[in-house]
C-alpha cells in the first residue's frame, strides 16, 4: 500500500472487482434453479422431496470448510464431477473464479430457496386458477401471475444470496484457494490480512469496503422491492 490510500491499491481493487463478479454471477446463476427448487418444494409432493429439501439446506448446516472440502472432492479437477465437466464441456471450476462463484452459489442457495419458497406459498392459488380458466397454460400462469407475485421474494432471495456471496469465505478458500486475480475475493483478502501481524488495519479498510458495497446493494434492492410491492399492493 503506497501513498494514495487503499482506493488506489490495485490488489484491493482486484479483490473487490472479483468479489463483485463472483457475487453477481453466483446470484444470477443460482436464482433460476433456486426458483425451480422452491417451486418443487412448495408445490409438488414427490418421493425424495424431503431429501431434496435436506440437500438444499446442507451448506447451511455444515461448517463452510466442510462444504468447501466436499466441493473440492466433487468438483476438483480430479473429482468425479469436475473431471467430467472438464472432459465434456471444457469447463474448469477448480481454482478459477467460476469455482468461487460455484462455492458462493452453493452457500447462498438455501437462503434463496427459502425466501422464494415463502413467497410462493403466499401466492393465492385462486389467482393461478383464474389465469388457467382464461386459457393460460402452466408456463404462462407461472410467468404472468406467479412470478410477478413472488417477485418481492425473489428479490429478497437475491439480496440474501448476494450478501452471502459477498461474505463467503470458508468454502471458497477451501475449494478454490485464494489466488490473486482469480479466486482471491475480499473475504479471502481480509482473512489473509488478519492472519499476518499488523494486518488488522488494512483488514478493517477491506471490511468497510465490503460493507459499503453490500449496503448499496441492499438499498437498491429495497427500492426495487418497495416499487414492486406498491404495484402489487394498493396499486
Amino acid at each position: 500500500m503506497q501513498d494514495g490510500g487503499v482506493w488506489l491499491d490495485p490488489a484491493t481493487r482486484e479483490a473487490l472487482a472479483l468479489s463483485l463478479k463472483v457475487a453477481l454471477w453466483s446470484t444470477l446463476c443460482a436464482l433460476p434453479p433456486a426458483v425451480g427448487v422452491a417451486l418443487l418444494l412448495a408445490r409438488v409432493r414427490f418421493p425424495g422431496r424431503a431429501l431434496l429439501n435436506g440437500v438444499v439446506h446442507l451448506p447451511l448446516v455444515l461448517p463452510p470448510v466442510a462444504t468447501g472440502y466436499l466441493l473440492l472432492m466433487l468438483f476438483g479437477r480430479r473429482g468425479p464431477v469436475g473431471g467430467w465437466l472438464e472432459e465434456t464441456f471444457g469447463l474448469v471450476l477448480a481454482f478459477r473464479w467460476t469455482g468461487a462463484a460455484l462455492a458462493a452459489a452453493v452457500m447462498a442457495f438455501p437462503l434463496m430457496v427459502r425466501a422464494i419458497r415463502l413467497a410462493i406459498e403466499a401466492v393465492d392459488p385462486k389467482l393461478e386458477a383464474a389465469a388457467a380458466t382464461l386459457g393460460a397454460p402452466r408456463w404462462a400462469v407461472f410467468g404472468l401471475v406467479t412470478l410477478p407475485l413472488i417477485l418481492p421474494g425473489v428479490l429478497a432471495g437475491a439480496v440474501l444470496g448476494f450478501a452471502r456471496a459477498m461474505g463467503e469465505f470458508g468454502a471458497t478458500i477451501t475449494f478454490v484457494s485464494s489466488i490473486p486475480g482469480e479466486t482471491r475475493t475480499l473475504p479471502a483478502a481480509i482473512y489473509a490480512l488478519l492472519q499476518s501481524p499488523g494486518g488488522e488495519d488494512a483488514a478493517l479498510v477491506l471490511v468497510a469496503i465490503s460493507v459499503a458495497v453490500s449496503m448499496a446493494a441492499l438499498l437498491v434492492s429495497e427500492a426495487l422491492a418497495s416499487r414492486v410491492a406498491r404495484r402489487i399492493g394498493a396499486g
Binding site: L134, G135, A136, I232, G235
Partner: protein
C-alpha cells in the same frame, strides 16, 4: 350438444357437504338457482376444471372434459371456459387493461375489431383502465371480472353471481349484452344467480339446486310456470315467461307486443317490430277478476282459464292460468281465491300493469 353434467363429490370435514348433481344444459343460458350453500359454485368449479369430482362425467358439445373413471381430465386452460368468479379474482399486479386483455393473449383467433372498447364501454370501466384492482370499488372489480371473462373469447361462459354487487341501472346495461352473446354469438352460459329477474330474463334452462342435489331442471318457460316448482324457486319470485313478438311502437312511449293470448302494452323497448321476445310476468303482479274490469290504469287485460291452484301457507295461493297457448302464474290471497271462486276451468281476466313489467323482465327470445 350443450353441457352435460353428472357428478358426485364430497367435502370432508365437520358438517361435510356432499354433491350429487346431474343435469343437461342445452345451448343458451342455463341458470343455476338455489339457496346459499346448495352447491352452485361447486358445480361451476367442477365444470371449469378447478375441482375434480370424486365421480362422474362432464361433457361439452359432445367433448368429454372430465371423466373420473378413466377418461380425460382436461386441464382448465384447455377447456376455454370464461369464468366470472363469485369474488372478482383480478390479478393484483396487473392494470385493469392488462387484466382485461389477459384471456385474449391465449385465445385462438383474433378478436372482433372494437370488441375491447365495446365491452369496456358497456361495463363503464373506461376511466379505470390504468388503475390496479386494489384501487377499485367492489362493483368496479366485479365489472372488470365480467369483462375479463368476456374478452377471453370462451366457448362457454361460467358466471357465478356476476351482477350481485351491481346497481339496477348497471345490471340493465349488462343484461342485454349477455343476451346478445347468447343469441348472436351463440355462447352458452352457465349462470348462477339468486335474482329471479335475471334468471327469468336470461335463462333458457333452469336448474334448481337444493342441498347438493338438483331439485328441478328443465326449460325455463316450463319450470318457471310450474306450480310445483314455485316453492323451490321462491314464491315471491314466481312468475311465468310469455313468448311474444313486437307488434308496434306507439307515440306515447309504449310498445305493443303480441302474445298468444292477446296484446300487451309495455314500456317502450328498443326492438324492431317482428322481434321475438320473452316477457316475464311476475305472479304477484297479476290481478285476477271474473268480470272484465274497466277504468283501471293497468292497460293489459288478458282473458284466461284457470288450470291449477296451489294454496300455500300464510294466506296466499298460486294460480296457474292458460292465456292463449301459454301459461301464466298469478299470486293472490286465499280470501280472494275463495271470493272469486277460483278453480280449475274457471274463466278469468288477468290484469297486468304495463309498468310492472320492468325493462329487466323483457328479454329477447333465444334463436
Amino acid at each position: 350438444m350443450g353441457l352435460s353434467v353428472d357428478i358426485r363429490h364430497d367435502f370432508g370435514g365437520p358438517g361435510g357437504f356432499s354433491l350429487d348433481a346431474r343435469f343437461d344444459a342445452p345451448p343458451g343460458v342455463t341458470a343455476l338457482f338455489g339457496r346459499s350453500g346448495s352447491g352452485k359454485t361447486t358445480v361451476v368449479n367442477a365444470v371449469a376444471g378447478l375441482l375434480a369430482p370424486r365421480e362422474g362425467r362432464i361433457a361439452l358439445d359432445g367433448e368429454v372434459l372430465f371423466d373420473a373413471a378413466c377418461g380425460p381430465r382436461l386441464a382448465p386452460h384447455r377447456r376455454r371456459l370464461g369464468y366470472v368468479f363469485q369474488e372478482a379474482r383480478l390479478f393484483p399486479h396487473l392494470s385493469l387493461r392488462a387484466n382485461l386483455a389477459f384471456g385474449a393473449w391465449f385465445a385462438p383467433g383474433r378478436a372482433a375489431p372494437g370488441e375491447f372498447d365495446r365491452v369496456v364501454e358497456m361495463l363503464g370501466i373506461g376511466p379505470l383502465l390504468d388503475r390496479r384492482p386494489g384501487a377499485l370499488s367492489g362493483g368496479e372489480k366485479q365489472r372488470a371480472a365480467i369483462g375479463r371473462a368476456l374478452l377471453s373469447r370462451p366457448r362457454m361462459l361460467l358466471m357465478d353471481e356476476p351482477l350481485a354487487a351491481l346497481d339496477e341501472a348497471r345490471k340493465a346495461e349488462i343484461l342485454p349484452y349477455l343476451e346478445r352473446l347468447r343469441d348472436a354469438a351463440g355462447v352458452p352460459i352457465l349462470y348462477v344467480s339468486h335474482a329471479m329477474a335475471e334468471v327469468a330474463r336470461l335463462a333458457t334452462t333452469v336448474v334448481a339446486m337444493e342441498a347438493g342435489r338438483v331439485a328441478r331442471a328443465g326449460p325455463a318457460a316450463e319450470v318457471l310456470s310450474d306450480l310445483e316448482a314455485a316453492p323451490a324457486l321462491g314464491l315471491r319470485d314466481a312468475g311465468a315467461l310469455l313468448p311474444g313478438v313486437v307488434a308496434a311502437h306507439h307515440a306515447d312511449g309504449l310498445t305493443e307486443v303480441e302474445v298468444s293470448g292477446g296484446r300487451l302494452l309495455l314500456p317502450r323497448m328498443r326492438a324492431a317490430p317482428g322481434t321475438r321476445l320473452r316477457i316475464r310476468i311476475a305472479a304477484q303482479e297479476v290481478i285476477l277478476s271474473r268480470t272484465r274490469p274497466e277504468g283501471l290504469s293497468a292497460l293489459n287485460i288478458l282473458a284466461g282459464e284457470v288450470v291449477g291452484l296451489r294454496v300455500g301457507e300464510g294466506g296466499g295461493a298460486l294460480v296457474q292460468l292458460r292465456v292463449g297457448e301459454d301459461l301464466l302464474l298469478a299470486r293472490i290471497t286465499r280470501r280472494s281465491a275463495a271470493a272469486l271462486e277460483i278453480a280449475p276451468g274457471a274463466a278469468c281476466w288477468c290484469v297486468v300493469k304495463s309498468v310492472a313489467v320492468a325493462r329487466t323482465d323483457v328479454g329477447r327470445a333465444t334463436g
